[in-house]
């Protein structure tokens, strides 16, 4: 038995419901991310992936159900709970008026790092995400991809044990995609639990231990990351679910 198996799941959602006007939202999602696991969620646009992540991070309150971070319910989560979380959902923490380094420094402070440890952590992040050239450049002058790199570094530099990333490879160049992949695999190996959403099934297959398909606000099944034709398996699940709902 590894030490990871002794810890509670890094992230849990039980019966999560969040309704929006017009019928969209979550309709009862159960999901866990264990220590050392990369759990990917895939789905079409509007399926509920981002809503699920928002609920699990406290950005939206669930109408029903409960989310837990490292075993702590979202309502009871305190500073110590959130200090172990890193997330990029939609916009990264990248203020246009600050340099890349400045953004990493404020992100470290916001993640609870003491002032004396900030410089060392930021230096390490700049090296890990290959941001040396851009460290003194104002973020407003960076490309979208490099801004995303800054945001990912800002979310991961403090060594979170719970990582939630929504479409993290968006705008990244191939080198950035590889940097992120290696970073996530390293962090999972060190015990982090990682929830990641993506439209890129090939990329998901390279990093994920588990792939859950979200459709119409529900988890409708899973894909085998080692499967031969992920795209076909994905559409089979989604179309079967759509037909079942139409005929119900």
């Amino acid at each position: 038995m590894t030490s990871h198996e002794c810890t509670p799941p890094r992230l849990e959602g039980h019966g999560l419901v969040r309704r929006f006007r017009g019928g969209a939202g979550l309709r009862g999602v159960d999901l866990t991310v264990s220590a050392g696991e990369i759990h990917a969620i895939v789905g079409l646009n509007g399926a509920g992936k981002t809503t699920l992540m928002r609920v699990l991070l406290g950005m939206l309150r669930a109408d029903e159900g409960e989310g837990r971070v490292n075993g702590v319910g979202l309502r009871d989560a305190d500073a110590a709970t959130w200090a172990r979380v890193g997330q990029v959902v939609e916009q990264p923490l990248a203020y246009a008026e600050l340099t890349a380094r400045g953004n990493l420094e404020i992100a470290a402070r916001l993640h609870g790092i003491e002032p004396g440890r900030v410089a060392g952590i930021v230096d390490h992040a700049i090296e890990e995400f290959d941001l040396g050239r851009y460290a003194p450049v104002r973020t407003s002058r960076l490309s979208l991809g490099n801004r995303q790199r800054v945001g990912l570094a800002a979310a991961l530099q403090h060594g979170p044990s719970v990582i939630v990333l929504d479409e993290p490879t968006n705008a990244l160049d191939p080198a950035g995609v590889i940097l992120l992949r290696e970073s996530l695999l390293r962090r999972a190996a060190a015990g982090a639990g990682i929830l990641v959403s993506s439209h890129h099934l090939d990329e998901v297959a390279r990093v994920a231990d588990r792939i859950t398909v979200i459709n119409d606000g529900r988890a409708i099944g899973s894909l085998d990351p080692g499967g031969l034709d992920l795209e076909r398996a994905f559409f089979d699940l989604v179309l079967t679910d759509d037909e079942a709902r139409r005929s119900a």
């Binding site: 928002r54 600050l98 060594g159």
Partner: protein, 266 residues
């Protein structure tokens, strides 16, 4: 790098508020918005005051009529009287716009999503913004006072005029009071999720404050008292000015609650 390194400062609330203040101060310092607001306010108020003084000196009937009894007052009292009247309206606009930007930009730029799931609570971030804002307003008050003091000396008003210094001392008080009554703009920018609701609220406060002040009513209404004190100092008791901090206290608390309960549901 290890995957989990919870930090000791995460459990110390005062450390988290300090972090929020440091972060907000850095954003404000690096931003051109705050810098240009300062420059425009100080230069704008100075230029307007000099323009009005020049118009009075050259006998411009319309300007003299608008100034009323102030037109006949010379020296420090005349200079400060004009500056505080300009600042009561123009300064309120500048402060409201700065606050609207500080709070509304998080929604307009989308950076608000990154302010969730942090050990630093969002209410502390809102409080940090307000603390930085007040410190900035005090700095603006000091800068404007120094500039107006310099203008007065250049115009030949005596440096040893005790009554003149008392008049000049009204200026930083008025600037800070004006900054305090702009705080509802921060709440409006939060509720409206953007800059424009804050700007609209600022315009509303200016209109109410100026109209009631010109009508010489509302000495005990906190958002009116500073403007009335600028126009007619004798009509506002000192105790009435002490009610002004109730505005930032009430609306600052509302801001803290709004940020603590914030959801990304729009």
């Amino acid at each position: 790098m290890t995957a989990a390194t919870p930090t000791s400062s995460a459990a110390a609330p005062h450390g988290l508020l300090r972090a929020a203040i440091a972060v907000e101060a850095r954003k404000a310092w690096s931003s051109h918005v705050m810098l240009w607001t300062t420059v425009l306010l100080v230069v704008g108020v100075g230029a307007l005051a000099l323009g009005i003084l020049a118009a009075v000196a050259s006998g411009e009937a319309q300007v003299i009529a608008k100034l009323g009894p102030l037109a006949g007052v010379g020296g420090w009292a005349g200079l400060v009287g004009i500056v505080v009247q300009v600042t009561a309206a123009g300064g309120l606009g500048a402060f409201g716009i700065a606050l609207s930007w500080m709070f509304g930009r998080e929604f307009a730029d989308g950076t608000v999503a990154a302010l969730f799931a942090l050990p630093v609570p969002r209410a502390a971030i809102a409080l940090g913004k307000l603390i930085v804002y007040v410190i900035w307003a005090i700095a603006v008050a000091a800068l404007l006072t120094v500039v107006v003091g310099g203008v007065g000396l250049v115009l030949g008003y005596g440096a040893t005029d005790a009554a003149g210094l008392r008049e000049l001392a009204r200026l930083p008080v008025l600037v800070v009071l004006t900054a305090l009554i702009a705080v509802p703009a921060a709440w409006a920018a939060t509720l409206g999720r953007g800059l424009l609701p804050g700007v609209a609220t600022t315009i509303g406060i200016i209109v109410v404050a100026q109209v009631l002040a010109i009508a010489d009513v509302g000495a005990w209404v906190p958002i009116v008292a500073p403007a009335l004190w600028a126009i007619a100092p004798d009509s506002v008791p000192a105790a009435a000015l002490l009610t002004v901090p109730s505005v930032p206290l009430v609306f600052g608390a509302l801001c803290g609650v709004a940020w603590a309960r914030l959801q990304l549901d729009r």
